[in-house]
């Protein structure tokens, strides 16, 4: 008694607590025992249970020390009563009991729980959660109850020491079968279609089992079901419906399960045996067969298990294409851990684990230093290197096939894995020459596959046709949005990520040396191949590879590395080849040879890239490329037009010009050369005439004198393309542009004409001669009579025996000398037959500028086309006449014959069927009259008479 007395003050809080418990437990017990109508009392019971939970948990959080197994036992008394009739109570009561049980387990019994109670509770909980085996479940168990059940189950499993989870031979003591049933319940919850919260609890429970139990044979017994259950949840079709946190939890559980059961440390004895078996095969085999218990931990068991795990893993590892990063990370950890911990036991799974780990490997930046990485593992286990290499090889060779997949994600993952793998290989300095060889072809084939698969995208032609004749079109184009290219291949929005992945693979793969090597081999494909897609793919690839080598070498520029001198040489050589090919593509375009637009677009990009590298040194290259690039502005392919504008912008800025128009004006001579050489071979497209027109407009009058032979070529083309009105019209648009610019020239005639009195063609009124006039006339008449008289007196001379003028043979010789003496006058005579006006004209014509010649030539030509069937052409020609007339009229001797030539065709245009043509004819006529004045008098008169008669 004294003992109790003395302890009384100490146990006061416990006693108090006990009193409080008692206050609840007694009525609860009475209710439980006496209650007739369970459902009616359920509310009250629930209240009591809840207050018990409250009391217990409050005490646990405030002063848990006083709680012990006896108190728990005390509380359990009414609970056991209740549980006996549990089927009669609503689930809410059961749920409360379960919650209370958890409190009791965690804070009351703890490890001191008796084996019987433990087993009992296990069975109870399992039955509540999973129902009694062999019976249909009576009522639906609410989610909350299930969650509470799993929580309590977990508490139960973790509460007891590992000793309890051991196989025991004493009958009735063995709780393993009960635990086995619990595990089944957990696995069912995992595999069944239940809310994810429940699944999470079930997984946690499962983990508790595998953490708490240390008896390998017990765990080995649970392993097959657990692994298959988890992998069922983790592989299709269930994995699709699962929440990612469930997947992550399952993966972690799987990792724990496998490591705890099959970890190298756990099974090292068996492994040793296997090693031994290899040496003495038969003896051990027979020895193993003799043992017989529930699960035999034998080498053959290990082998069989590993094989099963392999199958399960290969299903689970498909999760690598899961879009969630957390899942991927968990999977990666799983792979790495298994590779590390189960290196020997799961040796068969090594290759798929390595492959998956490679795929999921994250960037170094995000990778924590503390975590083991694949690279670390590979340095520990050298044989992993081979796995890495073979995985890489099979990816590389399989890449084209992957690209056929309709799933963009799959493609991206495949590309990314190759990149990661090859990075790892590079970091580990693996020799991968065979890999490199297959890489190039594989990449190219992949691109081909992608290109073939992608449908020609709908192009939104927001740019519209570039109006070349508008110089503003180019000035406007200086804005930044056109400074970058649209992708040429894989251009659809859906392929964007794939394209980016591919680009990053190309730019990061291997060393620059390797890239140059790959690019060179690609170039050979470009040159050899006839198949357009192959050509485009190879070309693109070569360009991308070289571009990345240049960007890398730019980074390394500061480092003096003389050993790589040869490399830069190869690099430059390869790029030169690429550029040469591009130039030939561009040039052959303007030769109107059909080639796929992507190829041309790439060629434009290469050209622009080359210019950005060479800067001002690129200027001489403009001789060859500027004109072809410009003609793409008139391409029928909208992408090409856009590309051309971008290229011109880049060229202009690389070559140090302020704008594209500066570029064109400054290199007009090169462009002119290209155009005229092509015109000469009648290799002209409407685009080239547009380019020419634009160039003339931009450059202005100062270009006109240089156009002499070009105009000749246009004339020749006009003769040849007589029957193509549209083409003729475009040629004439060039001519009228020349005229428009030519008349602007202030140097049309040499300045001395300004000193001369302006020619006044105004018709002068008839003035009477007066007396003096009559006298002069008489005088003249008289002198004429006198002269004829004197001539009659002259002696007779025979008619000349030789023809007048120099003889034929003589003339030849003389003409040679003459020609040398006065080459320029001769020049005038022949080059412009119109002006062959006789002796008086020679002097003056010599002073005419080349521009003047050109304009007269063009005007002369118009007469032949004024009868063209195209009304718009007729109109533009008439406008041309009107424009050119004021410029030509000052030189009377040249102008009046022209008027004479043009007159007959011009006057008939007044009766043109199209009114606007007739109006233009009137205007032209008006200009002619202004220029020629009285020269037109009689012509107008005749025409007028005819018109009024009609």
């Amino acid at each position: 008694m004294s003992g109790t007395m003395s302890t009384a003050p100490v146990s006061t809080p416990r006693t108090e607590f006990f009193q409080r418990l008692k206050g609840v437990c007694v009525p609860l017990n009475q209710l439980a025992v006496r209650s007739k109508d369970k459902t009616a009392d359920a509310k009250e019971i629930l209240q009591l249970i809840e207050s018990l939970v409250d009391i217990w948990s409050t005490q646990a959080s405030q002063n848990g020390g006083i709680l012990d197994d006896r108190l728990a036992d005390y509380v359990f008394v009414p609970l056991s009563q209740l549980l006996r009739d549990r089927n009669q109570y609503p689930m809410r009561v059961i749920e409360g009991i379960i919650r209370l049980l958890r409190e009791l387990i965690q804070h009351g019994w703890k490890v001191k729980m008796s084996a019987a109670l433990y087993r009992q509770l296990l069975i109870l909980l399992s039955f509540i959660i999973g129902g009694v085996p062999g019976q249909a479940r009576k009522k639906d168990v609410p989610e909350e109850t299930l969650i509470e059940g799993f929580k309590t189950l977990k508490a139960l499993i973790t509460s007891v020491g590992p000793a309890r989870l051991r196989r025991s031979d004493t009958p009735g003591e063995d709780s393993i079968p009960a635990l086995g049933h619990s595990v089944t319940v957990m696995i069912d919850a995992i595999t069944e279609d239940v809310p994810s919260l429940i699944q999470l609890e079930a997984v946690a429970c499962l983990r508790a089992v595998f953490t708490s139990a240390t008896d390998l044979s017990v765990l080995a017994q649970f392993l097959p079901g657990t692994v298959s259950g988890l992998s069922k949840r983790l592989s299709p079709p269930l994995e699709k419906q699962s929440q990612k946190r469930v997947i992550v939890a399952c993966l972690e559980a799987l990792q724990l399960v496998l490591v705890n059961v099959l970890g190298d440390l756990k099974v090292r004895g068996l492994l040793r045996q296997i090693e031994a078996t290899k040496e003495l095969q038969e003896e051990t085999n027979s020895a193993n067969d003799s043992e017989s218990t529930a699960v035999e931990l034998t080498p053959s068991w290990l082998k069989a298990t590993a094989a099963q795990v392999n199958i399960a893993l290969s299903a689970v590892l498909k999760l690598r294409s899961h879009e969630s990063e957390e899942v991927q990370h968990a999977l990666y950890r799983l792979c790495i851990t298994l590779l590390d911990e189960c290196h020997a036991s799961l040796v068969d799974c090594q290759s798929i684990l390595v492959e998956t780990a490679l795929m999921l490997q994250e960037d170094e930046a995000t990778l924590s230093r503390l975590e083991t990485s694949l690279q670390d593992l590979a340095s520990i286990y050298p044989e992993l290197g081979d796995s890495i290499k073979s995985a890489l090889y099979s990816w590389v060779t399989g890449l084209p096939r992957m690209m056929q997949s309709s799933n963009e994600k799959t493609k991206q993952l495949a590309i990314r894995s190759i990149l990661r793998g090859s990075k790892l290989a590079a970091a580990m300095q693996m020799d991968s020459s065979t890999l490199d060889d297959s890489l190039a072809d594989s990449l190219r084939d992949s691109i081909i596959t992608l290109m073939k698969a992608s449908k020609p995208p709908k192009v939104i032609d927001d740019l519209g046709a570039v109006d070349l004749s508008q110089s503003t079109a180019l000035i406007k184009s200086g804005n930044a949005e056109l400074a970058t290219y649209n992708p040429v291949i894989l251009d659809s929005e859906g392929q964007k990520t794939t394209r980016n992945e591919l680009s990053s693979l190309i730019s990061q793969i291997g060393s620059p040396t390797l890239q140059v090597k790959l690019a060179t081999s690609m170039l050979n494909h470009v040159l050899d191949s006839d198949e357009p897609t192959t050509q485009i793919a190879s070309f693109w690839l070569a360009f991308q590879l070289l571009k990345s080598t240049y960007s890398q070498s730019a980074d390394l520029d500061e480092l003096f590395d003389f050993s790589s001198l040869g490399e830069t040489q190869l690099q430059d050589q390869a790029f030169q080849e690429l550029y040469d090919f591009s130039t030939s593509v561009l040039v052959s375009h303007s030769d109107s040879v059909e080639s796929p637009w992507q190829l041309e677009a790439l060629a434009l990009e290469v050209t622009a890239f080359s210019s950005t590298r060479l800067k001002l040194d690129f200027r001489p290259e403009l001789i060859d490329v500027l004109y072809p690039v410009t003609t793409f502005l008139g391409s029928s392919e909208p992408q090409l037009r856009r590309h051309a504008i971008t290229t011109l912008n880049i060229l202009a800025s690389s070559c140090g010009y302020d704008s594209v128009s500066d570029l064109i004006v400054d290199n007009a001579d090169y462009m002119l050369n290209s155009v005229s050489l092509r015109l000469n071979t009648f290799d002209i497209s409407p685009a080239s005439t547009k380019v020419l027109t634009m160039m003339i407009r931009l450059t202005g009058p100062k270009l006109v004198p240089f156009l002499d032979d070009t105009v000749q070529a246009i004339f020749a083309a006009l003769d040849n393309y007589h029957g193509y009105p549209i083409f003729v019209e475009s040629l004439f648009s060039v001519l009228s542009e020349i005229v428009t610019q030519g008349v602007k020239s202030d140097m049309l005639l040499l300045p001395d004409t300004t000193n001369k009195p302006a020619v006044n063609h105004k018709k002068k009124p008839h003035r009477p001669q007066g007396i003096t006039g009559i006298l002069a006339k008489v005088e003249k008449h008289l002198s004429r009579i006198e002269q004829s008289k004197s001539e009659a007196d002259e002696p007779f001379t025979p008619h000349p025996k030789q023809p007048w003028g120099p003889g034929k043979t003589k003339k030849k010789q003389k003409s040679f000398l003459e020609e040398l003496e006065a080459p320029s006058s001769d020049d005038d005579e022949e080059s412009s037959p119109v002006e062959k006006k006789g002796d008086s004209g020679d002097k003056e014509e010599e002073k005419q500028t080349p521009t003047y010649h050109l304009l007269t030539k063009i005007l002369t030509l118009t007469q032949h086309y004024l009868t063209s069937p195209t009304p718009t052409l007729r109109k533009s020609l008439l406008d041309l006449v009107a424009t050119v007339t004021p410029a030509l009229s000052p030189s009377e001797n040249a102008f009046l014959p022209l008027v004479n030539l043009v007159w007959p065709v011009l006057i008939t245009r007044l009766h043109d069927n199209e009114v606007f043509v007739a109006v233009a004819a009137c205007k032209a006529l008006g200009e002619l009259c202004k220029g020629a004045g009285d020269f037109m008098g009689s012509r107008i008169k005749t025409a007028w008479g005819k018109n009024t008669r009609d």
Partner: protein
């Protein structure tokens, strides 16, 4: 380059002369193409960029002859009766105008530095010819003394003055050949039309080839220590004035073309013999294309070209004298033609001469001459051996190409210079 499918096309057209292009020459290692026109303008083109580097009016009248002297001197001969030696090194070009004569904007163009200016006769359109004053191996440099052959300033300018530079003194006056053969005795040979002056490589005899208005050519030679000129060859293969002669790089023969269609190949005797002068040309071909005004043999002695009044440039094989190609671009008559210097002994790495695609491909015409051509008085020194391909930047490559391409430049009445790359 000529192709099977279509006729050859020019590589580029150089537009710039307002009047007819009279002469053309490659100078300074093919770095520049000089062209001269009827107004006396000279343009130095850089073929790397196809643009002028220097433009000036060398003469007030038409230019008759233009040649480089070493790497930095240029001799021009104009119809204004003057012969001028200019200094035009690469560094001088920056002070000169590049505004083309065709450009309408008037501009005062500075002249390059004038080293010599001589009053010479130019009545008969006969251009000068020059060679080093003493027999010399290798190219002429600016430091060398030279001898210039020009028609003597007389009305009947049949004799030739040989002037020494830098002293500017007349060293020799060579009389026209007294044609003793009976039927021509009463006729004078007419005015000199074209000249070629050189030292014979074997005997070092100073040799002067003169072509005359009446269609005859004569070779006179002067021994190293002698003061009398001896006629060693005279012939009249042409019926009409001879327009141009050019001597082969190895000086073993020379070609003449005239206003008739004849092209004749003549021997160059190594030294006077005791006998009568030779009178028979090696070969006379009637091409039926009259008026091939300028004739040039390429430095590798494989092909020669003529520019015709019919506006066509014709390329012939030296060996067979067959027509290999007709280069057609000009619309009006052509006056001038020039070959870029082509290394007669190309290094083995460079590609062999392109086989020609013309109707008559005389394969035997493309034969590397075995003779050593070192004592060549061609105005350019052979270009430096080309660098290895990989070492060249794009720019260097372009320059290299411009210097080593087998250019033919032709100019004519239209004032355009067409640039071809053939054979």
């Amino acid at each position: 380059m000529a192709s099977d499918a279509r006729p050859p096309q020019p590589k580029a057209i150089l537009r710039g002369h307002r009047t007819a292009v009279q002469v053309a020459a490659f100078v300074r290692n093919n770095e520049r193409l000089l062209t001269g026109d009827s107004e006396g303008f000279v343009i130095a083109w850089d073929l790397t960029i196809m643009r002028p580097k220097a433009v000036w009016q060398a003469h007030t009248e038409s230019i008759l002859g233009i040649e480089g002297w070493g790497t930095d001197r240029i001799i021009t001969h104009g119809r204004d009766n003057r012969l001028i030696v200019w200094r035009l090194a690469a560094e001088d070009e920056q002070f000169l105008s590049t505004t083309l004569p065709l450009d309408p904007a008037p501009e005062v163009r500075p002249w390059p530095w004038m080293i010599h200016s001589l009053e010479v006769n130019s009545l008969n359109f006969c251009a000068f010819s020059y060679c080093p004053a003493s027999p010399k191996i290798g190219p002429v440099t600016a430091a060398d003394e030279i001898l210039l052959a020009v028609p003597a300033p007389k009305i009947s300018s049949e004799s030739i003055n040989i002037i020494h530079l830098p002293s500017c003194t007349v060293k020799h006056t060579v009389k026209p050949p007294a044609l003793t053969s009976g039927q021509d005795a009463h006729k004078a040979s007419g005015m000199a039309m074209s000249l070629s002056l050189f030292h014979h490589p074997a005997t070092h005899y100073l040799t002067l080839i003169t072509a005359y208005e009446r269609g005859s050519v004569a070779v006179v030679q002067l021994g190293p220590n002698s003061s009398t000129w001896t006629m060693t060859y005279v012939s009249t293969p042409h019926n009409h004035p001879i327009l141009s002669v050019d001597v082969s790089p190895d000086k073993s023969f020379f070609l003449s073309s005239g206003s008739d269609g004849i092209i004749a190949k003549h021997p160059v005797p190594p030294c006077p013999s005791s006998q009568q002068p030779l009178t028979d040309p090696i070969k006379v071909v009637n091409t039926h294309h009259s008026g091939q005004q300028s004739l040039r043999i390429r430095s590798d002695n494989l092909v020669f070209a003529t520019s015709g009044w019919d506006a066509k440039i014709r390329v012939y094989s030296v060996k067979t004298m067959n027509e290999l190609a007709v280069l057609r671009w000009h619309q009006l008559g052509c006056y001038a033609v020039a070959f870029a210097f082509v290394d007669p002994n190309p290094p083995p790495v460079s590609p062999p001469p392109q086989p020609e695609q013309q109707p008559q491909p005389p394969k035997d015409g493309i034969v590397i001459p075995e003779e050593d051509c070192e004592d060549d008085s061609w105005e350019v020194i052979p270009p430096a051996p080309p660098q290895k391909k990989g070492e060249m930047t794009v720019r260097e490559k372009r320059i290299h190409h411009a210097k080593t391409a087998h250019w033919i430049a032709a100019g004519g009445k239209d004032g355009r210079v067409s640039l071809w790359e053939v054979y």
